[in-house]
Symmetry: C2
Subunit: 412 residues, 2 copies
């Protein structure tokens, strides 16, 4: 059995605790971890005590058991979510908890499960945990999602390797991808954070009216940006004023496109893994914000299903830029995991836009949202188009054109 | 790494679910398991679904994390036990849960921990969980405690073996000890259960006034039995009328001695592991129920500490008989674990008696308890005296003597 190097893992655990969750002296820490990654979960707990945590509560999960419950449980259990489980989060949040989630998701975990059970339990749990989710989403507390490999996940990403080799390689990629493989990952993340600050500051001040994106594999798309759009990326600041990184890794800066203004063609640079299907060679042509033609060299039907979900599924909800020198981009690997794949390459999303990507959307009527170009849909599906030769030109309100991204890099 | 045979483990899991917890169709099952035994815990869960469980909730524990919390947590966390944790048990009990606990206790888990923290958290949790414990102890629901090895435990039992070899051997001993290594363990436990029924029926009808116990290594003790004493052993019957085995293994039948009537000498046949000390060669002489002389070839001071705890610590609270043909007895191994050690050999306990070992003790005043000979103490410490040449003679009210146990076996 492959056993990952102790020092490397300890550095990664320390990074998650200090740069990710920014654990403070006297704080309650909740560590969510699959039983298969118990060794690493315990290292994170020890790091949290090193940082002065008053108590570390291990929230052990087990993907195998979760799957088994969906497959073998009685039908009625999927409509309820016990009150004590809600009270648990309330108690922890009242105590000012920091949540550190170590994800080792097998992308095929729910294959073969009755989708109705998943839907019903998702409704039951989301309804019950509404207050908790609201606290999380509004940065009411700090949290950090990071990754550790499971054998199933590793074999999916590296199907040609033995399980041991695949585990070793996925650990290697995760640490590299999370910028956790250097001699001083905490210092590396300070620098990484400063990079985000510079990009966001530049883009938010410029308030480009549109972006023209071109790549050597055929993309030539002009995307309008929403009125008062906000570029977001990197870390967040919790209500207590302390910074944290909700995701490790994180490489993208992203904003809200104007759903009425996308013209031209976009060609995907990597496959899209969607609900068990792999869609390759995505090629979409937009006119006035709406996809008017689409094709794929593989999985064209699945692509059609996505785009026919609703009207919003044919329009854009996100445009994200990722430098091709980012560690994940350089791996040119499909991780089948959003935490990595959305940080691998510049991407667009079909469907729903994020409210935080434009000013004051929480106070807007549906008409006002429509006016600024904020898209709505039941779906939000990212697909990657970034290449090493990508160029992005910012077009200002007054027609001025500035190339701020060239050969896959920010060059402002 | 040693990996235990799949079929053997599945048979053991099935035994725990069906003979131990007696899981019924539509029932909620709680499986308590250390993350280090995740593989076996999942097998128990699958067996529970096979038996028709409506839902299996995994209650993952982690000894390492529990120790770390005691060593590194803030001092104030040991005085509280969150209300939602109490509500969790109430919710599960209201749903008619069966509890299956897989124990893999490292006997040295709490070595070096501040005893005051253990005491305070024990008070906080026991106080909060009083209702739950009451339900468990009064057979309000069914439960089963069983064992699976941890590397630390295995190395303590078999210090001369490599970790892999020790794990293999401890698994082997656990399965043998739990009568789970045969072709049909469930049938074996039916037979085992019938054996208990016969012994309890014989002993409870006889109502011996005293037992005279002799062994080849020096024991010659006459122990009076309490008025209206009850021999107990094997399984229990829950309030819903269904049988279960709270402990797997279980080999002993035991009753209440009269605290005023023990005369003679008892020589221990195995060491006693007590709070980290090993006490060997225990030799105690009783007069009118009270220990008047005691010595040990090793750990004599620890033995003295036990017996000087209070007045009750010098008197007997339990006499238990175990056939030396029982699988655990045959192993002649110190497990450092009560689940096994108390089923390895006939034993006496210094200290507190069990209320269930005499009739109507729940309605008795202190004076009445004193009158029947029921001992009380802060402690209850078992030590083993059974040998393969042990003889037990039952002495009736009218002075009749019947040898019902000879050469280590029941012979009635």
């Amino acid at each position: 059995m492959f056993v990952m190097n102790e020092e490397k893992l300890k550095n990664y655990a320390k990074l998650i605790v200090n740069s990710g969750g920014n654990v403070q002296k006297g704080q309650l820490v909740i560590v969510g971890c699959d039983v298969e990654n118990a060794r690493f979960g315990r290292m994170v707990a020890e790091s949290a005590y090193d940082a002065g945590a008053s108590e570390v509560v291990m929230e052990w999960g087990c993907e195998f058991s979760a799957r088994s419950r969906y497959l073998r449980g009685a039908d009625e259990i999927f409509d309820t979510f016990a009150k004590w489980r809600v009270d648990k989060f309330k108690d922890q949040n009242d105590r000012g908890a920091v949540y550190l989630h170590i994800i080792s998701a097998n992308p095929n975990l729910l294959a073969g499960v009755d989708p109705d059970r998943i839907r019903r339990f998702s409704i039951a749990s989301r309804t019950a945990l509404k207050d908790h989710m609201e606290i999380m989403m509004s940065n009411g507390l700090r949290w950090c999602g990071s990754a550790a490999p499971s054998p199933e996940w590793a074999k999916l990403v590296f199907p040609d390797l033995s399980e041991d080799e695949a585990m070793e390689k996925l650990w290697d990629y995760i640490l590299k991808g999370a910028r956790a493989d250097g001699a001083d990952p905490i210092a590396d993340w300070k620098e990484h954070k400063a990079g985000f600050a510079g990009r966001l500051d530049y883009l938010n001040k410029k308030q480009f009216k549109s972006l023209r994106i071109t790549t050597g594999i055929g993309t030539d798309l002009t995307v309008g940006l929403a009125t008062n759009h906000v570029w977001v990326g990197g870390g967040g600041t919790a209500k207590d004023g302390l910074d944290f990184f909700p995701n490790m890794p994180t490489e993208e800066v992203f904003t809200m496109p104007d759903k009425h203004r996308a013209n031209g063609r976009v060609v995907a640079s990597m496959p899209l893994s969607y609900q068990g299907s792999l869609i390759e060679g995505i090629d979409i042509t937009f006119k006035d914000g709406r996809a008017v033609e689409h094709s794929a060299t593989k999985g064209a039907e699945a692509l059609g299903n996505i785009m026919n979900m609703d009207e919003g599924a044919k329009r854009l909800g996100e445009v994200a830029l990722v430098s091709s020198s980012s560690p994940i981009a350089k791996m040119k690997t499909l991780f089948y995991n959003t935490l990595f794949d959305e940080n691998a390459s510049s991407h667009l999303a079909l469907g729903k836009a994020y409210p935080k990507n434009a000013k004051d959307t929480d106070k807007m009527s549906a008409e006002e949202k429509e006016k600024i170009g904020m898209n709505d849909s039941l779906i939000h599906v990212d697909f990657m188009f970034g290449t090493e030769d990508m160029t992005v030109t910012g077009i200002s309100e007054n027609g001025e054109e500035i190339v701020f991204f060239e050969n896959g890099e920010f060059v402002y």
